[in-house]
């Protein structure tokens, strides 16, 4: 393995810190803190009540230990749960956004000013605990599409939020979901009215800047009958020696004949080569195909975070509904990932498809964990799962934990899995044809991931390809 082991990470280019004055609340978690966060956001009483119930629930829960990851105990009293750039309040227009923040996002490749915005993509930019700007709101509003920060939705569209908040991921769901429900700060809210196809891609960009704070965002997407939306999220954080917690909740609801396509390119800071620092990405993402013929499709490219614990799932409740999960998870150095999906078939003739590609390099550990559950009434349900692992070097690990529960004899469930390794002979073959080792690895990895990449919106597919190449630079060579 002389050639396949040396690749080191290129410098993480999003590791900078923006020097900005922030309003932070005292460290630690208590009922007082929950009330304080709610007050900061000027929330209605019902929202506070919901948070408090979640907080009490959380107190009674135990942190899960079943995932194939190892980390020192998290001190929940040592985290700052709210950090917001000062001093501006809510922004009526982008002109009022702090230029320093605009600059920070521009540096991240997310221009927010009108003349520089990416055509065809509306962005909600979230910095630590608050949304700092949402672009193209007016244009979307003309079609009846609501795209705003979660805080704004609580104030402006309480009836929709009340109806769906916690309907897919209740605060009782798991430890991190309960924590998020108690302290969530901001996130994105999307509502696509009946029969509307969103005229542009909606996206959120999450940025953690403060070294002491965690990020606890909450996203809710509701697609009414016959509507369609494609949503993308991206995330980065500066390089700090200390681990930081990111515990998000995402809920998707698709009604009759509606489609939601949700894509993620996750590039949180992963820690250094020795595993120091990096984000703990403990996230609950779930979509409910509530209506007949609805479809929810998750595509994720996970390249960052020290630890990833994440299972974007689909509850296939409506008859003939479809759930999809396409995933590339890349780990390098000391990164750990335990990720996969759950497909819960409830309705008749529901179908699901799982394509998971795990790439492990360095001393990292990459696990796929998935559940396919066919309930007794899910007549004619079908699932196809394919889990492939690619190992780079001799010290990385790949694991697969598929769980299949079938309660209806008419169901068809297929599972395929493979593990392969980039071999010295493959690299030599490329070299002998004049191709340098790095390009060879890039090409093999792109080939390995192409079924997933082709699910991504075009611009993001290019970005994902570039990102993987960058992450592996020096790990083969």
């Amino acid at each position: 393995m002389s050639t396949i082991e040396a690749l080191a990470n290129r410098e993480y280019k999003y590791g900078f810190v923006t020097e900005i004055e922030s309003e932070v609340i005292p460290r630690g978690l208590s009922e007082e803190i929950v009330r304080l966060i709610s007050a900061k956001k000027e929330e209605p009483e019902w929202m506070l009540e919901w948070r408090l119930k979640a907080y009490r629930q959380w107190l009674a829960m135990e942190e899960p230990e079943w995932a194939n990851v190892a980390y020192p105990k998290i001190d929940y009293q040592d985290i700052i749960y709210y950090s917001a750039p000062k001093p501006k309040e809510t922004k009526a227009s982008l002109d009022e956004v702090d230029p320093q923040l605009l600059e920070a996002f521009e540096k991240l490749g997310i221009p927010l000013t009108e003349q520089k915005m990416l055509a065809g993509v509306a962005v909600d930019a979230i910095f630590d605990s608050v949304s700092v700007a949402t672009t193209f709101k007016d244009k979307l509003a003309k079609e009846g599409v609501i795209f705003c920060s979660f805080s704004e939705a609580v104030r402006e569209h309480p009836e929709i939020v009340k109806k769906y908040l916690g309907s897919v991921v209740p605060y009782t769901d798991n430890y991190f979901a309960a924590l998020n429900s108690a302290v969530f700060s901001d996130g994105s809210f999307c509502y696509i009215p009946k029969g509307v196809r969103s005229p542009m891609e909606l996206s959120s960009y999450f940025r953690i800047n403060n070294s002491e704070s965690g990020q606890f965002e909450r996203t809710l997407i509701v697609a009414e009958e016959g509507s369609y939306v494609s949503y993308l999220e991206g995330c980065t954080a500066p390089k700090f020696d200390k681990n930081q917690l990111h515990a998000a909740v995402v809920e998707l609801v698709a009604l009759d004949d509606a489609q939601i396509k949700y894509s993620t390119v996750q590039n949180w800071y992963a820690g250094d080569e020795e595993g120091k620092g990096g984000i703990y990405n403990f996230v609950t993402k779930r979509g409910k195909c509530l209506g007949r013929n609805s479809k929810i499709s998750w595509t994720q490219v996970e390249t960052g975070s020290a630890i990833t614990w994440k299972y974007p799932s689909c509850i296939l409740q409506g008859d003939n509904s479809i759930g999809e999960f396409y995933s590339v998870a890349l780990t390098n150095h000391r990164q750990q990932a335990d990720t996969g999906t759950k497909m819960i078939h409830i309705g008749k003739n529901t179908r699901s498809r799982i394509i998971s590609k795990g790439i492990s390099a360095g001393r990292s550990n990459n696990s796929y964990r998935g559940l396919v559950k066919i309930l007794p009434k899910a007549e004619g349900a079908r699932n196809y799962s394919q889990c492939d692992s690619l190992l780079i070097g001799a010290r990385s690990g790949a694991h697969t934990f598929p769980y299949i529960e079938v309660g209806n004899s008419t169901a068809k469930v297929e599972h395929e899995a493979s593990t392969s390794k980039i071999s010295e002979d493959q690299i030599f073959y490329f070299n002998q044809r004049g191709v340098a080792t790095e390009d060879a690895v890039g090409m093999i990895i792109n080939g390995f991931c192409k079924e997933v990449f082709r699910e991504l919106p075009m611009e993001f597919a290019v970005e994902a390809t570039r990102l993987l190449g960058m992450k592996l630079e020096g790990s083969v060579g």
């Binding site: 002389s2 093999i444 080939g447």
Partner: protein, 251 residues
């Protein structure tokens, strides 16, 4: 074009090449024959720069350059091509993308314009005719699920596309039926031009019915034991390799 002097090479602590000398001029076709384990494939891989082999002594001068100082991909871009005895499969990477990348790397190296996918497609289809390969192979993954004969033909296709200065063919004839052998030989003959050179590593004489070498060398215990013209191949076919033992002892 190529001058090998006193070449010694080891793998896993075993010395396979033990002072090999060979000179190959432009426009020449050389056949390297010899019994199993004599070092034929090792010679091919060492010239291409396979990382498992270590050169412990000697030198290789290729077009005035010290070949051993160049990385494997640099050697390839300088025009050294190895047709592998056992080509590897590369799942997920299409033949077209693989070859276009390889082709353009060499073009870039020579300071020439790269070809875009459409231009390259025309070139590729043209070259595929030489090896009588079905165009469905264009979009299949490199060597994946190919039969032994298809893999060998694919090697010749790559050679035809890359148009190397020095082509080394490592037992390209083994495992081929008569038709495939004819096709492969045809591809090699197209490459043999006054400015190119070919080294054919082969176990059997039968490839030489289709390709006429200018020189035949017999490799034995890591050295060239005997060199001659085309007639030497026939002599080997008749007598086998045993009679060489005496001549090596004498040398």
């Amino acid at each position: 074009m190529l001058e090998i002097r006193n070449l010694h090479a080891v793998i896993d602590g075993n010395e396979i090449l033990r002072g090999l000398d060979l000179a190959v001029g432009a426009g020449e076709v050389h056949a390297i024959m010899g019994p199993n384990g004599s070092g034929k494939s090792t010679l091919a891989k060492v010239l291409a720069g396979h990382p498992s082999y270590e050169v412990t002594e000697g030198e290789v001068i290729y077009q005035g350059k010290n070949l051993l100082e160049l990385a494997p991909d640099e050697r390839a871009r300088e025009g050294v091509f190895l047709a592998f005895q056992y080509p590897v499969e590369i799942p997920g990477v299409s033949n077209a993308n693989f070859l276009r990348l390889a082709y353009n790397e060499t073009r870039k190296h020579r300071g020439e314009e790269e070809l875009d996918p459409l231009e390259f497609d025309d070139l590729l289809r043209e070259k595929m005719k030489i090896v009588e390969m079905d165009t469905s192979f264009i979009n299949r993954s490199v060597n994946e699920g190919f039969s032994g004969g298809e893999k060998k033909r694919n090697e010749i296709l790559q050679m035809a596309v890359l148009d190397p200065r020095l082509a080394i063919l490592d037992e390209t004839d083994s495992g081929l039926d008569i038709d495939a052998l004819r096709i492969v030989a045809g591809g090699i003959n197209q490459l043999a031009r006054p400015d190119n050179a070919v080294i054919l590593v082969t176990h059997y004489q039968r490839l030489l019915n289709y390709i006429s070498p200018d020189f035949v060398h017999v490799l034995y215990q890591g050295r060239i034991a005997k060199s001659g013209g085309k007639e030497l191949a026939h002599e080997l076919e008749r007598k086998g390799y045993d009679w060489l033992k005496g001549s090596v002892a004498a040398a």
